[in-house]
């Protein structure tokens, strides 16, 4: 079972390592972890995607709540939230496959943001599933390098 934890923490030195350390010590998975400041400069938001059985998922939330740097833990399923991930990817191209790559990017809504004689860099911001899909589609051409941010998420406006 996949679960997203939106964790508001005190924006202090060492908090990231405390939270990440909790996951390794308790044998919980981290699929992805993203940290950034919020509108309050003293508060950071960590978006953590994890998976496990029902008991593990409950324990993760309880253990996060026990940490004294954690202000609030919100957990939700992907369905109740908008999730986004940013992908930057360098691919090698040639005369034959150039058009093909560009068409694929067009269909998916990805942008080409940088180019050289034989490399191009693709930028794509979408759900983690669609990011995976784009990577899958371009696997036939040679992918040189990939950087993904991991997933950020907020609950949908209609959800309370």
């Amino acid at each position: 079972m996949k679960r997203i934890y939106s964790v508001l923490v005190e924006n202090r030195a060492g908090v990231l390592s405390k939270v990440a350390g909790l996951f390794s010590r308790r044998n919980f998975n981290i699929d992805s972890l993203v940290v950034g400041e919020t509108n309050d400069r003293e508060v950071s938001c960590m978006t953590i995607v994890s998976s496990g059985d029902a008991r593990t998922i409950e324990q993760i939330e309880k253990q996060l709540n026990k940490k004294l740097d954690v202000i609030k833990v919100k957990t939700f399923n992907e369905g109740a939230s908008i999730t986004r991930e940013l992908l930057l990817m360098k691919v090698k191209y040639n005369r034959e496959n150039r058009r093909d790559i560009m068409e694929n990017c067009d269909i998916m809504g990805a942008k080409i943001v940088d180019m050289s004689r034989n490399l191009m860099m693709i930028q794509f911001c979408d759900t983690p599933e669609r990011v995976n899909l784009l990577i899958e589609m371009l696997r036939t051409v040679s992918i040189v390098e990939i950087a993904r941010t991991g997933c950020v998420a907020l609950t949908k406006c209609g959800e309370t």
């Binding site: 390592s17 008991r55 026990k66 940490k67 004294l68 740097d69 954690v70 202000i71």
Partner: protein, 546 residues
């Protein structure tokens, strides 16, 4: 006033009377300030982990936060085992460590260790102090965090320049205001009513008490509950002493080292109240099985413990004392109490029938530790504090020591060898009028015998019993069962002559070689209010679990 003076002032305002520690360059400014002020008694231990164990023994008896103060680097890392031991048993400590100068942190200078990083998974919280002006707030928070909610150790790492930094205005905060820490104290009334409702339906209820009952200072409330509701009691190792051992309603310690009839009682109940217990592996072997066909009510101050090892029917988070004051306010129907008579009679018959199988000990050659401990129980004052170390001695103590109105202390969660001597020192300092006795094996004794000097220097009279069998008995026993008597790494061939150790520390020495010497020797050993060392020879082939 500098940072060191500020810490001393904070400790005084928190009502600290005694602290345990070790000197070093990085922490020297603190000890200078402490000496200058003169209100708090520092006790110099012989190795830093003992400082934490002393503070733990002190905290458990004095029902206050224990304090220890050590230096940077190796001083701090030596403390870790003590901190982890306290964390596993939820003992409230505030530990100060000296640190290298702020501007040197991270450059691997002499005696530098990233102690806040190293103890992260063993502390409730930790601080690295950057500015002496923050010290009053940090100290106030640390004492509050350590002693509230689920108790535990808090570490404050103070660089030496912060200790010497000028503090212009000292303002000790009245209250703590942390948006991230609001422990649940009052139990939810809806849940409490549900518990009372389920209790009213149960004909075979049982309550299993853990260390949380002692920590919440809820022994009277639990005893009243048991009496008024006629609910039989079993305990975990940490819950020993919540009920007097010989109370008719007490059915012993559960778990793989516990009593057969206690486990039987747990299994045959229709309602199980787990109170301040973690449902940990040593107490409950298969958590999924004990819940079958019964109502499980789990009461704990830490919400994360509920549902961690076993899924309860009714979870109830809050302070145990508070919750049982509420539960005790409900009246129990007389019919129900009457209906429980059969259940209690059944358990009583189990207790009578399932007596201990005791291996045949040749008492002409060795001492039977069970008989020794029972005789010791009879001779000790009613309010004595008994500290068991870790190993076979601990299991024998758990099952045969008769607690009346005293306390039984041990390192339960972590199982730290060498806990008993320093913890007994702390306990004795917390209760100078009570008899304190530490019981250990020859393995654990050699892990902490340097603290005999602490006892002597601080003038703390503690009775020490060393059960000597020249082997690491608990592991040897494990090898007996699991490796068919192939014994590796357990022989203690280099054991010193304990009589000479006692002599070296100016301590009377007694020796019980065989069972027939118990009655003559024990009264002499216990007679005077002075430290004494008693060696009891036990059979290396003896078993704690038989």
């Amino acid at each position: 006033m500098n940072g060191a003076d500020a810490i001393v002032r904070c400790l005084e305002l928190e009502g600290v009377e005694i602290l345990f520690g070790y000197q070093g360059a990085a922490i020297a400014p603190f000890y200078r300030a402490l000496g200058e002020s003169g209100h708090i008694r520092p006790v110099l231990v012989r190795t830093e982990s003992s400082a934490a164990h002393c503070a733990s023994g002190y905290a458990r008896i004095r029902e206050k936060v224990g304090v220890c103060v050590v230096t940077s680097g190796p001083g701090a890392t030596n403390l870790i085992t003590g901190i982890a031991t306290a964390y596993a048993d939820s003992i409230p400590l505030v530990c100060f460590t000296g640190q290298v100068q702020s501007d040197m942190i991270g450059s691997d200078v002499f005696q530098e260790a990233d102690i806040t990083g190293a103890v992260e998974s063993f502390v409730k919280y930790s601080y690295l102090v950057r500015d002496a002006a923050d010290l009053p707030r940090i100290c106030k928070e640390a004492f509050y965090i350590a002693a509230s909610g689920r108790k535990g150790p808090v570490l404050i790492d103070v660089p030496s320049d912060v200790l010497e930094q000028e503090v212009r205005r000292f303002n000790y905060p009245e209250a703590v205001n942390m948006r991230t820490y609001k422990p649940t104290v009052e139990g939810n009334m809806v849940q409490i009513k549900k518990v009372v409702g389920e209790l009213a339906k149960a004909s075979r209820p049982i309550i299993c008490v853990g260390g949380g009952v002692h920590l919440a200072d809820a022994v009277p409330q639990i005893r009243a509950f048991v009496r008024d509701n006629q609910v039989p009691v079993v305990s975990t190792m940490m819950g020993i002493g919540v009920m007097p051992s010989e109370d008719p309603m007490y059915f012993g310690m559960v778990g793989n080292n516990g009593r057969v009839y206690a486990n039987r009682a747990l299994n045959e109940s229709d309602l199980l109240l787990m109170v301040g217990a973690r449902v940990a592996d040593r107490a409950v072997n298969r958590p999924d099985l004990i819940t079958e066909g019964k109502v499980l009510i789990h009461i704990d101050v830490d919400p994360a413990e509920i549902g961690k090892n076993v899924g309860p029917t009714i979870p109830l988070v809050g302070d145990i004392r508070h919750i049982f004051e509420k539960i005790n306010a409900y009246e129990t129907e007389a019919d129900l109490i009457h209906a429980r008579k059969d259940w209690i009679a059944t358990l009583t018959s189990y207790r009578e029938r399932m007596t201990d199988r005791i291996p045949a000990i040749d008492e002409m050659q060795y001492t039977d530790p069970r008989r020794f401990i029972r005789r010791l129980s009879e001779l000790l004052p009613e309010d004595a504090i008994y500290v068991a170390d870790v190993g076979q001695n601990q299991i024998w103590s758990c099952t045969h020591y008769i607690v009346r109105n005293g306390r039984f202390l041990t390192s339960g969660g972590m199982g730290t060898m060498g806990y008993s001597i320093p913890a007994a020192i702390g306990a004795k300092m917390a209760a100078p009028d009570r008899t304190v006795i530490a019981v250990m094996g020859d393995g654990a004794f050699q892990m902490s015998m340097m603290e005999l000097a602490t006892m002597r220097q601080a003038g703390v009279p503690v009775k020490l019993v060393v059960m000597k069998n020249g082997t690491l008995g608990m592991v040897r026993e494990y090898q007996h069962y699991h490796y068919h008597d192939v014994f590796d790494m357990v022989e203690l061939k280099g054991d010193p002559a304990l009589s000479k150790i006692a002599e070296a520390y100016d301590m009377p020495f007694y020796h019980i070689e065989t069972g027939d010497q118990i009655d003559a020797c024990l009264p002499l050993f216990l007679e005077k209010e002075e430290s004494a060392l008693l060696q009891v020879d036990v059979d290396p082939n003896d078993l704690a679990k038989f």
